[in-house]
Symmetry: C2
DNA sequence: TTGAAAGCGATACCAC
DNA sequence: GTGGTATCGCTTTCAA
């Protein structure tokens, strides 16, 4: 066996077999362009020479196709994986990607970013999907500049970027109206964060509006619409930030409204993960959820059903699939789809009438 | 504003500004190599010309670095995302990737593969991590041929490939011994699948050995070790396949041992997700888990704690981090690390002594 | 079928 | 700081 050359290339193999580069290239990329025996001979030589097969970057450069979709997150990836809602969305994108033999390139873009500019620029992809990237995030301009197919989810700001999501405001209103109809007037709201991640505790109305996440703003506004309609002063609604979108953080932050004199009779959480945390906190305090206090979530993640959580269902998987397709088969130039998927209130056991 | 040329390239920009390509290249990749004013002028021209920035594929080709780790799954991605254990592992890999501004390229490789050969070959990555890719999977040779840094998890066959995982057999034995010590002799085992996915129901000893997943085999052997040590005939142990690694599938398949005359007093599940399903099934039937019947899992996923599930904890996050590092900083040639992480039996409330 | 030539778009090295 | 020059490794006409 030859000592494998430091660098085997298409040319090397071609020389070895005594054919041209084209033929070797065809052996890999177009099996039907040459007879089987020759193809085998080529592969055999490749093996002998330690030729690793066509270089992916070179091939991608030459063909102008990457075979991957870029998924940009503003949070750390570990964070994104932690929420069943995200996971549901990812599964959707993955499904359509798989169908076309396309990979998914996850690009982390945590807050204290800067170096991650590189990650976006160096991403060898055929298009980008922005997942909860807030308005005005620096990455957005960078990505857009790359001129690849692009779709945003949940964060619907830039009119020039295709969008798929839900009507956040109207959907949240569904939950708010449900609570209002049950007679609740003393209400608390649990959010993950308002101004910048990490900050936890009660948030003033100004802080609530200051957030750059349009989905969060939409949901808050939806709750507000419903509550104000029945005469609730929004300023009386305690909006509490958990600091992170996690069950335990929500459980901890629940103290801000659970351990006070004028405890609310209902809690609206802007996500199921947070709602589950509130449930935990209630349980700890021996509160009978659905009787002593009502809790509603948002998303309808798998765990929600098990917990009998009242929530607003949004089709996360479908959202992902549509986003994926929008990238793989971009719409004609000039058309900028803005797709809003239907949502639905799912009433389970965690909400009930106001206790006397 | 100029009508942006159909194709703007580094050269175009260089010509426009009146500098060389090098300078433009530096403007993007090495800001310190030219003065700020010029750099701005270049960017400005780029914007005007609609130049999308250095082409990722070209750059990757030239620099010989991809800026991404390839993660290969044998199951569909959607499947991988669904299991909290996988998610924990992914988070680990993601963590170290993030630290170095590296992306994660998810490469699906479902059973009925073929087209996905392409996905591996075209993956522009600096290394691969094989996640639960069984022995002898065709992808393995293909990936290995690419000559990039490579690491396997959980499936430890090929001696030439770096590995990180746990001692499956010894770890499973921990659970088995715990059950044996509690006096259980009539035991059932729940697995996801034995020979090929989708098949559910009881599996013969031959079928159990036929699986190509070394981790599964290891765990079964561990249970067997423990049980045979106290005189249990392994053939009397009902091994049932759920067909898929899902909670609901496990709940359904539990009927195979729950709804029979000689119901086992203990159930060992080779994963927590399955164990949770068994728990669901027991609850449905009004069985008091921990008293009427004992259930133990494996992995210690977050839900396990909430369910008070007795299980074997393995450090999934750590596993992922180590795998990631192994790819980013590959060990010296010739050294093939085989890392086994510690595990630990976590006794909670779902196991108890044999009922009289 | 096969081969020769022409890029794909960018970066590294080295003098200037 | 700057600008030539030489690749990086492959695919793709187009003719033979």
């Amino acid at each position: 066996m030859d000592s494998r050359a430091k660098k085997a290339t298409l040319q090397t193999v071609a020389d070895e077999v005594g054919v041209s580069r084209t033929t070797v290239s065809n052996a890999y990329g177009r099996p039907d362009q040459l007879n089987k025996a020759l193809r085998e001979r080529i592969f055999e030589a490749a093996r002998r020479l330690g030729y690793p097969g066509p270089d992916a970057a070179a091939r991608s450069l030459r063909r102008g196709r990457a075979g991957a979709i870029g998924l940009v997150f503003t949070e750390t990836l570990s964070y994104a994986f932690a929420d069943p809602y995200s996971v549901g969305f990812l599964r959707g994108v993955a499904e359509v990607a798989e169908e076309s033999g396309t990979g998914l390139l996850l690009i982390p873009m945590p807050p204290g970013t800067g170096g991650s500019e590189t990650a976006v620029r160096d991403a060898v992809v055929d298009g980008f999907c922005l997942y909860c990237v807030p308005v005005g995030h620096p990455a957005k301009e960078l990505i857009r500049a790359r001129g690849l197919p692009l779709v945003t989810t949940d964060e619907s700001d830039d009119p020039g970027i295709p969008y798929v999501g839900i009507d956040e405001r109207a959907s949240a209103r569904l939950a708010g109206e449900h609570i209002a109809r049950l007679g609740h007037r003393r209400v608390a709201v649990m959010v993950d964060h308002v101004s910048g991640p990490g900050m936890s505790g009660p948030a003033s109305v100004e802080e609530q509006l200051a957030t750059d996440c349009s989905d969060l703003r939409g949901r808050l506004t939806g709750y507000r619409d419903a509550l104000e309609e029945v005469g609730v002063d929004w300023r009386s609604v305690r909006v509490v930030a958990a600091g992170r979108n996690s069950r335990s953080a929500a459980a901890a932050a629940s103290a801000h409204f659970l351990d006070v004199a004028d405890r609310p009779t209902a809690v609206l959480a802007i996500g199921d993960v947070l709602a589950l945390g509130v449930l935990d906190a209630c349980e700890q305090r021996g509160l009978a959820v659905g009787r002593d206090i009502s809790v509603a979530g948002f998303d309808d993640v798998p765990e929600a059903e098990r917990a009998r959580l009242t929530t607003v269902r949004q089709p996360m998987g479908e959202k992902g699939r549509i986003a994926g397709r929008l990238i793989l088969q971009p719409p004609e130039e000039g058309k900028t789809p803005h797709i809003e998927l239907p949502t639905e209130l799912v009433v389970r056991a965690t909400t009930g009438p106001v206790p006397h």
